[in-house]
C-alpha cells in the first residue's frame, strides 16, 4: 500500500516536472524569438520549430545540476513536499484558510522557478537564463512552474492530495 502511494506520488512528480519544464522551455524560446524578431530577424515556422526542439533538448535535465532543466526538477522536488505539508496543515484547519488548499501546489511550483531565477542572478548580476529576461519573461517562467504544480495536484488522486 505504502509502495503504491510512493509510486503514484513519484509518477505525479515526474509528470508535473516534465510538463513544467516543457512549458518553461517553450516560453523561454518564445521570449528569445520574439526579441530577435523585434530587431529584424525573419524567423520561419521551421526555424522556430527547430529552435524549440533544440532548446528543449539543450536545457533538459541532466547530471549537470546547474542545467535549467535539472534545477527545475530539483526545485519541484523541494517545493512540492513543502506544499503537501502545508496543504495538510491547512486542510486540518476549520477557518477560511482552507480555501487556499487547491492553490498551494501551483504557488509552490511558481515559487520554485522564482527562486531558481533569483538565485542564479547574483553571480554576474545578469539573467543566466536569457529567456527569463524582463518582467514578462520571468512571469512566464513562473507561470510554467504554477502549471507544473497544477498538474501535480490533478495527477494525485483526491485521496492522495488530502492525505
Amino acid at each position: 500500500m505504502e509502495r503504491d502511494r510512493l509510486f503514484r506520488v513519484t509518477l505525479a512528480y515526474l509528470l508535473a516536472a516534465a510538463a513544467g519544464y516543457a512549458v518553461a522551455s517553450i516560453f523561454f524560446t518564445s521570449a528569445n524569438l520574439i526579441r530577435l524578431s523585434a530587431v529584424g530577424a525573419e524567423i520561419s515556422f521551421a526555424d522556430a520549430l527547430r529552435t524549440f526542439l533544440f532548446d528543449m533538448r539543450g536545457m533538459a535535465p541532466s547530471m549537470v545540476w546547474t542545467q535549467y532543466g535539472s534545477l527545475i526538477f530539483i526545485g519541484f522536488a523541494i517545493a512540492f513536499p513543502v506544499a503537501a505539508y502545508l496543504r495538510r496543515v491547512v486542510l486540518r484547519s476549520t477557518g477560511p484558510i482552507r480555501k487556499i488548499a487547491p492553490y498551494l501546489f501551483p504557488i509552490a511550483g511558481a515559487t520554485a522557478i522564482a527562486v531558481i531565477l533569483l538565485t542564479s542572478y547574483p553571480k554576474y548580476e545578469v539573467f543566466m537564463f536569457a529567456g527569463a529576461r524582463g518582467t514578462f519573461g520571468s512571469l512566464a517562467q513562473c507561470l510554467a512552474g504554477a502549471l507544473a504544480g497544477y498538474v501535480f495536484h490533478l495527477t494525485l488522486n483526491k485521496r492522495e492530495a488530502r492525505s
Binding site: 530577435l36 529584424g40 533544440f54 536545457m59 535549467y68 548580476e125 545578469v126 543566466m128 529567456g131 529576461r133
Partner: protein, 386 residues
C-alpha cells in the same frame, strides 16, 4: 612593485590546433622565444601603451595607471586618473596614445563609469604631465545599461586620426547590438576631441546614432589597426562557442545576436541562425570558446616568419595565440606560452619587433598580473642565421 627578471628560453614544440576554418600548414620555421617578466604583482592589468621614448603605461582594471620604464621598473603611479566603476568586468580598461603623443602628450582612457543600475563605457582624453593627468575631459559615453559585464572598451586610432571605440552589449541587452539607436554592441568612430566625423556611415540615417561605425557585436575586447594596410581587426567574445576575429568595415553588421556560431550558456540557442543574409561572417571563429582578449598584427624584424600574422591574447584557454594569415586567409594557428597558466589580456608589438603581453592573472591568483616581453632567443637566432 617588485620587479623580477625571469629569463627562460622556451623552445616551442609545434603544437598546432585545427580550428574550423584553418588547415594545417608549414610548421618548420618556429622561432625560439625568450620570455622576460618585466613587471608582476599587477592587479588585473588591462591596457598597455608603449611610449615613443621606450617607457610604458599600463592600466589596472581596479583603477591604477602606472608609468614604467623600458625595463618594467615602476617610475610613477599616475595621479588624477578618473574614478572607474569597478565591479565584475567593469573598471579602468584600455589606454591609447594620441597619434601625435610625442608632441602633445595626449592620451585616451576607456573605463566603466556610473553605478550598477546605470553605467556606461566612457572614454576620456587627458594630457600626461609628469606623474599626473591634466585637462581630463570626457569625450564619449555609450548608452547606459544596468549590468556590470560586457563593456568592450578597446581603443585604436585609424590612419586618418579618428578613434575607434568598442562597446559591449551588456549581456541582458543583447538585442541592442542590432539597434542603430543604441550604442551597445557597436564599434564607434569619433574624432580625437570626441566630436562625430561627418563621414561616419550612419550620420544621415534617421534614428541612428551618428557615432556608429559597425554593429552587431557582443563584447569586442580586442582591436587593432594595421598601419600598413589600414585593415581593422577585432576579437569578440562569443557565449558558449562562437568567439570571433572580425575584419571591421564601416556600416557592416556582424550579426550578433541574430547570427552566431555560439549557443547560450543555458544550452539554448541564441538564435536559429549561424549565418544570416546581410550579416558579415567572421574571419575566424572558435567553438568551443577560447576567450579572446587583445589582438595585434605582427609587423617587425625580430620574428620575420610571423610577419603579417595575428597574435591574440587568450584569457579562457590561457595562452598567446598566433593566427597564421596567408593573403588574408587563416591557414594555421599556434598556441604560445600555454604552459604558464596565464590569462593573456592584451598584446602589443614594440618598435624593435619584440612582443609585449599583458597577463591579467596567473591561474586564479589575485594580484598576479604580469607584463611580459617576448624576444627572439639569441642562440637560436644566430643559429637560424637571422
Amino acid at each position: 612593485m617588485s620587479r623580477i627578471y625571469q629569463s627562460a628560453v622556451t623552445v616551442f614544440s609545434c603544437t598546432f590546433l585545427l580550428a574550423p576554418l584553418a588547415t594545417l600548414g608549414d610548421v618548420s620555421h618556429e622561432p625560439s622565444i625568450h620570455v622576460e617578466v618585466l613587471a608582476d604583482g599587477l592587479d588585473a592589468p588591462w591596457g598597455l601603451a608603449l611610449l615613443p621614448d621606450g617607457r610604458m603605461l599600463v592600466t589596472e582594471r581596479s583603477g591604477g595607471l602606472y608609468l614604467l620604464d623600458a625595463q618594467g621598473e615602476r617610475i610613477a603611479t599616475i595621479r588624477n586618473v578618473p574614478e572607474a566603476f569597478v565591479k565584475l568586468q567593469g573598471g579602468l580598461l584600455d589606454i591609447a596614445l594620441h597619434p601625435q603623443f610625442d608632441t602633445n602628450s595626449t592620451l585616451y582612457l576607456s573605463l566603466a563609469h556610473g553605478h550598477q543600475k546605470h553605467n556606461t563605457t566612457r572614454v576620456v582624453q587627458a594630457v600626461l604631465a609628469g606623474d599626473a593627468l591634466e585637462n581630463v575631459k570626457v569625450i564619449f559615453d555609450n548608452t547606459p545599461k544596468g549590468t556590470s559585464v560586457h563593456y568592450g572598451g578597446r581603443l585604436a586610432f585609424l590612419p586618418d586620426g579618428t578613434l575607434l571605440v568598442t562597446t559591449g552589449e551588456g549581456a541582458d541587452y543583447r538585442e541592442h547590438a542590432q539597434r542603430l539607436d543604441s550604442l551597445l554592441g557597436k564599434i564607434v568612430r569619433i574624432k580625437a576631441d570626441g566630436t562625430i566625423p561627418a563621414d561616419n556611415p550612419f550620420i544621415d540615417t534617421p534614428g541612428a546614432h551618428p557615432a556608429i561605425w559597425s554593429y552587431g557585436h557582443r563584447n569586442p575586447q580586442g582591436l587593432f589597426v594595421d598601419a600598413q594596410t589600414g585593415t581593422v581587426y577585432a576579437t569578440e567574445h562569443g557565449p558558449k562557442g562562437g568567439d570571433e576575429i572580425n575584419i571591421i568595415e564601416k556600416q557592416t553588421n556582424y550579426g550578433w545576436p541574430i547570427a552566431t556560431h555560439g549557443i547560450d550558456y543555458s544550452g539554448a540557442r541564441i538564435s536559429p541562425f549561424e549565418t544570416y543574409a546581410g550579416m558579415r561572417e567572421p574571419l575566424l571563429f572558435w567553438t568551443p570558446s577560447i576567450g579572446p582578449g587583445g589582438i595585434a598584427m605582427y609587423r617587425g624584424s625580430m620574428f620575420p616568419e610571423w610577419e603579417g600574422d595575428l597574435l591574440v591574447a587568450v584569457l579562457g584557454h590561457k595562452h598567446l595565440r598566433r593566427v597564421d594569415l596567408d593573403n588574408g586567409r587563416v591557414v594555421d594557428q599556434e598556441m604560445l606560452l600555454d604552459d604558464r597558466q596565464a590569462r593573456f589580456r592584451q598584446v602589443e608589438i614594440g618598435s624593435d619587433g619584440s612582443i609585449y603581453a599583458v597577463v591579467e592573472s596567473v591561474g586564479e591568483q589575485p594580484r598576479s598580473g604580469q607584463l611580459l616581453k617576448l624576444t627572439r632567443s639569441r642562440d637560436l637566432r644566430s643559429a637560424s642565421g637571422s
